[in-house]
Subunit: 260 residues, 2 copies
């Protein structure tokens, strides 16, 4: 099967106009497809309004029990169901999923690093992606819409990074002999040589260039884990990985494409 996997992240989720562009571009993709969304700012807003403090340990965010409650509400509830209903409005037969639904993605508590307990954060393994279930949905013309919540199989939901989910699903489906196109969408046109100049986007990037751009700080902050996930997918069997703006989802030459 040829399958498009589209991750919508960055600030797109916070911007109704950009989200709508993403949804319309996604609807135009032909054939089998999967939509994966990140969390956005809404969870922070709701935590503030509910008076729930954000817990940090040595600069790292910790998902305590109250934070988990909110991210489940927002990611699996508010964001996921809004995207599903918008897609349905365009006659795309979307089906929203957390990792618990249909046992789609089983995860395990992140192990403590330097004695930091990250709380309800789930890491995942390729072998725990339920591709049998995902293929069943695709073959029945359903379009999975995944949120960044997984489960440990023992009744506990866990918070999992959406880029990680995207790369792992892309790899699992590639390993199963499907032709996977992984599109990582955010508010920029792609990987930029100069962050202030949208025209400076790279048509291609290989792993060496990525390392060099990381060293000279052309690539920084949130772009680093995003590209690490992209290269993780590319180096583990996903044939086509692109990074760019959702407006160009159907014009891959207007995205940054990973290459050897």
């Amino acid at each position: 099967m040829k399958i498009h996997i589209v991750k919508i992240g960055g600030h797109i989720i916070n911007d109704p106009k950009l989200l709508n562009i993403s949804i319309q571009s996604f609807c135009k993709l032909e054939g089998y497809k999967i939509f994966i969304h990140g969390g956005g700012e809404k969870a922070n807003n709701v935590m503030d309004r509910m008076g729930i403090p954000k817990k940090m340990i040595r600069g790292r965010r910790v998902t305590d029990k109250k934070t988990l409650e909110v991210v489940v509400m927002i990611y699996a509830g508010y964001i996921n169901k809004n995207i599903v209903s918008l897609l349905q409005g365009y006659n795309c037969n979307a089906l929203g999923l957390s990792g618990a639904d249909g046992n789609c993605i089983k995860s395990f508590f992140r192990s403590k690093e330097k004695n930091i307990d990250y709380g309800y954060v789930g890491d995942i393994d390729i072998k725990n992606i339920n591709i049998h279930f995902i293929k069943l949905l695709l073959k029945n013309d359903l379009v999975p819409v995944l949120c960044p919540i997984t489960h440990n199989g023992y009744g506990t939901l866990l918070n999992t990074n959406a880029d990680t989910i995207s790369s792992h699903i892309a790899i699992a489906l590639s390993n199963d002999n499907n032709q996977v196109d992984l599109h990582l969408c955010f508010e920029k046109k792609g990987v930029l040589r100069n962050i202030n100049n949208p025209k400076s986007f790279l048509k291609k990037i290989n792993f060496d260039l990525f390392q060099k751009m990381k060293q000279d700080h052309t690539i920084f902050n949130g772009m680093i884990p995003k590209l690490e996930n992209a290269f993780f997918a590319f180096q583990n069997g996903v044939k086509k990985v692109s990074i760019g703006h959702p407006h160009y989802l159907n014009e891959i030459h207007n995205n940054t494409v990973l290459c050897l």
Copy 2:
């Protein structure tokens, strides 16, 4: 197909112990089954904590835009995903759904009554229950877990009563030549002659008795719409309808069963 439809309502959702009993009893049911849950108190708590006022017009609750946001978060997110992950913990392959997912239940804005605009409230019609999709899930050993959120098919989510969803799905599946058992569970043992005496539960109730008990106020408040929905299902082709405590989900003689 023989299909159990179990609605979990009343105060069960607010009580982790009762919810767990419900989930365990549900897991013991053999064959095809569907879990439908109500809303509970959590949405009100979150609205209070977020400082969102509850909007009432002439004593009737109105679902304005902010209320809709919260009920989507809580019903489709927090409650639904917690139930799904708990069921998965007991090896029940649950799949959480709002009416938008897989276009499962399409609804329409409730028409104004005596000039009251109920806001984002969806009413449903038997013909808009997607039994093709529900049967696809059941035949693939998936267990649908439905929350009381539907969609209008044009990108808008709507708040819909869970008892109404239960009766309509039960009727739609009965009309499709399935043998449906509809179980409406709440915290009482069934229909009681004396609300303070659990032993006074009726083993059977017919429509005439219901009318009589309504007139003499033995049945009152929330029990009235619950029984109206139950009789609506029973009078429209659902062969077995019972009302009782989830502890007795597997012992129908300990529930109140509707009869002719």
